[in-house]
Symmetry: C2
Subunit: 343 residues, 2 copies
């Protein structure tokens, strides 16, 4: 049967001061009126039920996610420490296989905005079918809408059938010129939407992922703590997909965004005629291409271009849109009394 594994990591820094460690971006209504974590589960409706949806989260968020996503308590896997995506996905896949030896797994993240849920489900359905039919690890490559330098790219190889190709190579976070070349050559964004059978995934891990494979007996012994102590943190892309020969790529041709920065709201929310995205009480006079978010006071912008202005959790942030990608640098520089938000 089909299972979904949702990764719900993230430290909540990119949407400071709205996001906090206790309320990271996947729990915030960034792209619409409900959170991306809730949207992520709802989007699977008809494809994979909640009973077969697993979430991997840190101890601070597990309870909140279980409640918000209306999942069985057993379906929230509490990661004792963050160890990148390979240990989390391998553990969750192992767990699905324990419950269902023939499990097929769809892996996704809880912080995505997706334009067309039906197209998403059709693509996920195809990816799961391909994973079974060709016994491969299937990546869904998103058709790029811009030469994004913050994502990895997948260069498709030879056709496996009408819907899937092999993977020629992966290209991690290219520079701008390379990103343009990749787009022109038909490369796709590596979204993190994957499909595999549990048996193939675990077989590939045994062959290719020495950072994780030796720790698997700890899971068999029911000792998740030891598993996470023994693994070396590594991403599923670097630790497995780029090493395995048994990968494939399916095209995902729908709007997809990981809403990684304040500036990304301009891609996933409706804009006013001036190109501004406004959430909350605000008046923009003679202002263009701004992102404004207020959780309390009316915000007035006058003659402002390409700025992000946020009031949230008793803090006010003002920055040019281009700085939204380097929030970590700001937060490292802030005094704790300003940076740390207690809710």
């Amino acid at each position: 049967m089909r299972w979904a594994v949702l990764l719900a990591g993230g430290s909540g820094t990119r949407f400071w001061p709205l996001s906090t460690p206790e309320n990271p971006k996947q729990l915030l209504p960034l792209a619409g009126s409900s959170s991306s974590a809730e949207d992520s589960v709802e989007r699977l409706a008809g494809l994979i039920p909640r009973e077969r949806t697993l979430v991997v989260a840190g101890p601070g968020l597990a309870g909140k996610l279980q409640e918000r996503l209306k999942l069985p308590a057993d379906n929230v896997l509490v990661e004792p420490r963050p160890a990148s995506t390979a240990p989390a996905l391998i553990w969750a896949t192992w767990e699905a296989q324990q419950r269902d030896p023939s499990a097929e797994v769809l892996s996704l993240h809880t912080d995505w905005a997706v334009g067309d849920a039906a197209a998403f489900r059709r693509t996920a359905d195809t990816a799961l079918a391909i994973a079974r039919r060709h016994d491969r690890l299937v990546t869904v490559g998103m058709v790029p809408s811009r030469p994004e330098t913050g994502y990895g790219y997948i260069v498709p190889g030879t056709p496996l059938d009408d819907a899937a190709r092999s993977v020629a190579r992966f290209s991690e976070k290219p520079d701008a010129a390379t990103a343009l070349d990749l787009m022109a050559a038909g490369a796709l964004w590596n979204s993190g939407l994957f499909a595999w059978t549990a048996s193939r995934l675990l077989a590939e891990v045994a062959s290719h992922t020495p950072e994780v494979a030796p720790a698997l007996p700890a899971l068999a012994e029911g000792d998740v703590g030891r598993f996470f102590r023994e693994v070396t943190p590594i991403s599923i892309d670097v630790g497995l997909l780029e090493r395995s020969g048994a990968v494939a790529v399916v095209r995902g041709d729908f709007a997809w965004d990981d809403v990684g920065t304040w500036q990304a709201l301009a891609r996933v929310r409706p804009k006013d005629p001036g190109g501004n995205v406004v959430v909350g009480d605000a008046v923009l006079h003679d202002s263009q291409d701004c992102v404004v978010w207020s959780d309390r006071d009316p915000i007035v912008l006058y003659g402002v271009q390409e700025m992000v202005v946020v009031q949230a959790n008793g803090r006010i942030l003002v920055m040019p849109a281009e700085r939204a990608a380097s929030m970590k640098q700001l937060l490292d520089a802030l005094p704790p009394a300003v940076r740390d938000i207690t809710q």
Copy 2:
């Protein structure tokens, strides 16, 4: 004896959302820790006592000013309607003469920031002395520090003595090129700091100011309401000083600022090494030449240049510094629910 007349008009729009009709800029601690209205009275200490200090204000502010400035109740003259500076100054001068037939009047505004109070007093003392000695209306012309286009200029004429000259002409709010020419030619800012004897002022009004002179009998009859109904609003500059031959100018060589915009805080407050003026809780990271004012939340600026960011009275305002001079245009465009602040 010497009397001071302080004009305390102003609608409180330029420092929105901090200033309001009930709390206009002269009552706010814009330039330091006390308000400019309080500073204006304190600055006269040793020159003119509170007993001979009159304030002209609208009905909404009269009580507050009397209390804050610790003035005798009789010394607050309540203007029934705003009518520019000529009616207010003529009324207050008439009032001083009623109490003291030989009154000499120093006229000033309550919203000035002055760098050197002792230099201010020396100049005021000189202006009052010149007004008596030469029986003229004396303007104090400030040595300009920039080619300001928002002020009027005084072009000095022939010397009257060591300290005073006649006035060749007045030049109202010149364009930028003209302002540079005026500075180069030794013209001075018309600050609104004036000195005259009550008798000379009222004689000149009788000769030159038909907008006000015919209404003076109403004052003699004790009917201030009728006086203000009968006058035509006009400034003292246009209505009298530019028309009279009996004017003189004394140089005021001290830092003087009418703190007319948010941007002006950068002239009258200490700056950090990045050229920023910060009042309240704020962190500026990689930001230059900004004015930041917070009355509640920490404000964080990241990579911001030449912007004004204000949180006050439950509103947040963000604008480039150059927009600070056109606040009225913004306020005209704001919906009343955002613009109008009830405190």
